[in-house]
Amino acid sequence: MNIHEVNAETVDRHIPDLAPTAFIGAGGQKRVFKCEYHGETWALPLIVVSDNPDVTLDGADSEFGLNSDQVIARLRREVEIMRKCDSPHLVKMGPMDVTPVKIENLSILYFLEEYIDGDDLKHIMTQDRMPIDQIKDVGVHVTRAIDALWNCDPSQQIIHRDLKPANVMRRASTGEFVVLDVGLAFDLLDESISHPGQVPGTTLYFTPDQLDHTRKRQMDFRTDMFALGVILYEATTGKHPFYSTSMSTMDLFKSILHAKPKPVRDLRPDAPNELEVIIMRLLAKKPHLRYRTCESLLDAFDRVDSRGDT
């Protein structure tokens, strides 16, 4: 079975406790369903860690290049940390531990998280041009999420690493933007599954820090700041700062590493100058040219006049 074939009916059959479920979205190695649990609505992400039928997820999978104990332990730890990060801009974890399940050949881990009733930014961006005050909200809310991840547990600072419009949702009830899909243990997953070619969309949001293998630099929250810069650039101008149609992946990476994006206001003249300054600075190739702290970035957003320039 292929991950894309996992539908609500399959889930209901294999995880009867949570039935009935409904499909709501898909990511690279992931299918997300909606379900009811103890009378409340939850999102149910299913993460496929292997499609090898012989993998058992009982810790004895090392011969398949997968340390499943470690994968499960790490995902559990991350869910636990997320539980401690109390921010309205991070998706909340639900009342269930990370649980393995085998669906035919697929080895899957699932857990519960807050179901966000609203639209994701990828979808919002393809509709009308976003108003400046809403773009500013995206900036402020995602920065708070980056800050919460980095600072909620000093012994375990978290980098999201996969910020992209599909991972940012807008809560319809409050208008707050919420970051999804935090730091899942992709790098520990089965090689064949986590192959970049199988993660469409994500390469667009790679950062120079991730692509620069020569410097062995340690990444920190400023890597997420860069990805936020890409998101804000797209939200403001409708264009990706580094990608243009028919670019190969290699060319995209070169562009992320070296190209200087066109100034925001060339493409969106009514954007305030302060917003352009922030976005361009977030897109700086070197982390030390971005912002030293999330607070200083929030201060900068504070100075953006969201009525736009006239």
Binding site: T214, R215, K216, R217, Q218, D220, R222, K286, P287, H288, L289, R292, T293, S296
Partner: protein
Amino acid sequence: MTLLAQHGWGKTLKITKALGSGSIGGLILSPRDETPENAAAVLESIAGDHPDATRLFDPLFHAGQVVPANVGKLPDYSYYRPNLARRDFIGASKFAGYAADVLGFQYTLNVTSLVAPTIELVNFGDSSAQIALQLADASSTHHASTDDKRSLLLSFLINENALQSLDELDAFLDAITVMNADGYYLMMSRASSTHNALIEPSRLAALMYMVYILRVVNGFDVYCGYSDLIGLPLHAAGATASACGWYGTLRRFTFNRFRKSKGGRRPRPRYLSTPVLESILISEMDQISQAGLIDEFISGTSYDNDFRTKLPFTVAWPDEDAALHHWEALAAKVNEIESLTVDDALKKLVDWIDTAEAIRSEAEIGGVQFEPPSGDHLDMWRLAIQQFREMAELT
């Protein structure tokens, strides 16, 4: 006022005079040259007379790297560790101990900021950089655990050769820009013993870039020790303050300061001529005077008027006057650029370089023979400014 006195041996009344006249804005005290009691008293008395003066105490922890060392009164300080070797930097508790001792002593002093211990950083990618980072980190952790609300300056003593490798500098800057501190005290350990102002352009550009990234982009205070004239390009790049002392090893850092001196001859007297951005020899001043060009070289301080009217070699030029003149002249230049944007300050600096070269050419045509490598730094600075502009994308 952001020129500071780099304090050392034989302070006499120079510092109080210069503070009184406003040509320096404070000092960086050297424990090598004062007993602990005196150091405390000097800082206390300056705080009393000049409450706004910047008062720093450079612990000179790195002097412990020199063996055998000529470290003056440093052994009187309880935090001082002689004969520092690799084994002294193994284990986190050692770092925590050094930080606690070095900062602990300073908490008792009337200083305006605390200065963290460091060792010489030979290469941004090697173990010396790791040790320097660990000392900085331990200091930041220690300071955050105390009730002392004064600002903390992390300190780095960078061998000028390290400034050659820009990729490693970038990674280093990535690391220190997220440290929990108020500012940085940067020193450059010089390889050559020639002219203070002479420096490989790429190294000066890299140091300017460090200053710019830390101060202008990331908002840390940046104090540059032992800078002399090189303080000018560093101020142009955004430095909060630079420090300069009254003799050679207080104007340019080399580890010779902590080695037994071989005696040697007394340095020949010099005069800081800000129009040519250089300390020139009094014998050169004589030739300039004979060529009728002295006015072009005069800095115009409260000490140098006699050079206008008398033959330079007849002017009484005691060391103390030369030092006070040096500060006043340098401070005037610093003041001219310190409130400018980086772009404007760099333009002004290039103007000064152009003027200096024009004045020198005029003098050379008039028969003045400058002793090499006099003047060579001007082109180096010009190149450094260009390289720095490219690095900082200020073109």
